[in-house]
Amino acid sequence: MYALSDQQIDFILNDIKIRGVEMEDLQLNLLDHVCCIIECELEPEGDFEDFYHKTILRFFKKELKEIEEETNLLLTFKNYYAMKKTMIRSGIFSAAVIILGSLFKIMHWPGASVMLVLGIGTMSLLFLPLMIILKTKDNSNKRDKFILAISAVLGVFLCWATLFAVMHWPGKGMFWIISICISIFILIPAYFFTGIRNPETKFNTIVTTIILIGASGLLFTMVNIRPAVKQDQIKMYSYIQSEDLLKKIQNKSGGDQKENGTQNSLAEKINTLSEQLKSLILESAIGYKSIPKDFESIGIYMEEGNLGSHFFENGAGIRLLYDLKAEIIKYNASAAISLENKIPIDHSILDIEPDNIGRYSNFSVLNSLTQIQMYVAAADNKLTAIR
């Protein structure tokens, strides 16, 4: 029986660590095991180092780290079946909730946003990661593993891009760009060049690659990759300028002419209602109640679209619009308002049937509201000037 010295034990432990075994438990187990083998099998006068190096080779196929990897695998996949169940359930749940959410969204029913966030969140944060873990474990082929993992990552980014776009959160452009880049520069080349080599998969690879390129191209065309679309940009700046103009006219009339009580309170109501309506529309479009002063530096771009979920939710916007119309009729009927200062109702936002409101774009309604406020402010100015 060979007697190991303390230095030799340190040497073995050190070597186990160098070979990449990091779990302390495993290090100690292996150390004891190696020591046992040496003590039992090595002659008292044998060559320790030579024997050790031969012994350690028995522990693995390629490298000692395998044991730790196998341990981790066993510990992770202890919950294999639970994970698989969770994956399937979360997949069904998220798919159902996303479809329902989309339906609610186009019907302008309340709760659409919650469903979409929940559905897309579950899909991207639970279903797809679980799929990567489980499917790459099932698959022994390295190529399939890689393609699957990269597709799932692409799926996560596409999910987020869609979610951010639907919720009008800032940053969707970045997710689109990442998605398209992954697809064009990683997934398609990897898929094509690994598949084309194998004569069996050659034909399928070509067909699928063409479909993938076509789909990516369509996606690229469909979403506006560039952060600002010129048309929308002009519309946005034009609206911002109208707002500035309104502020100027309002400031001019901002004196202390309190004596004309009824007319002033009517004007104030019209202003408040208009502002409330605008904030509903803006909140859906850009996520803020008004366009922030530093909108350029924080990357806010408003896109033309419908009036958005905040406007339609529980009919809030439509109710406000009716209130506004009622106030304007009162305002027009007020004796203090001369004929030329009356606010035109025909052919304006106030003239729209509630069923048709969904067809109007956010920009046109915003501008129409600002114009109403301008009429009020301008009338106010004239009154002040007369006095």
């Binding site: 303390d6 034990i9 340190d10 432990l13 779990m23 438990d25 495993l26 100690l28 187990n29 292996l30 150390l31 004891d32 095991h33 020591c35 046992c36 083998i37 028995r58 522990f59 693995f60 196929k61 395998e66 044991i67 196998e70 341990t71 695998l73 066993l74 510990l75 202890k78």
Partner: protein, 117 residues
């Protein structure tokens, strides 16, 4: 991950847990090297468990709460003794019974009895 002189590794894949649990239920407590040696002795070298298969399994069993460990200092190094928990004892019996049942089924299925005469 088995090195086995007689059987293909596919044949006994999945029986390692059963082997370890049975050994631990027959012996109060054992350490890794002891387990490999015992299997070698009992099977007359027909089955040799490799370290690469044994330790991951032992860690998984410990994580499942089927075995507990006790650490004993042996000079400069430590030795981990594995022992069955009450849950492990039930588990060991179940596993052995399951395997025995499996063998009977296979005997029937492969018509081994007749051949053995």
């Amino acid at each position: 991950m088995y090195i086995c002189l007689m059987y293909s590794s596919e044949l006994i894949k999945g029986t390692l847990k059963t082997i370890v649990l049975k050994l631990l239920s027959d012996n109060k407590e054992m350490y890794g090297y002891e387990i490999t040696q015992r299997v070698k002795d009992l099977t007359g070298n027909k089955i040799q468990i490799t370290e690469g298969a044994l330790y991951p399994t032992l860690h998984a069993l410990e994580d499942d709460g089927v075995v507990t460990t006790e650490i004993v200092n042996i000079g400069k190094r430590v030795r981990k003794y594995y022992k069955l928990t009450p849950k492990g004892k039930i588990n060991a019996t179940e596993k052995v019974n399951e395997f025995a049942d499996f063998i009977n089924t296979m005997k029937f299925l492969l018509d081994i009895n007749l051949q053995l005469g």
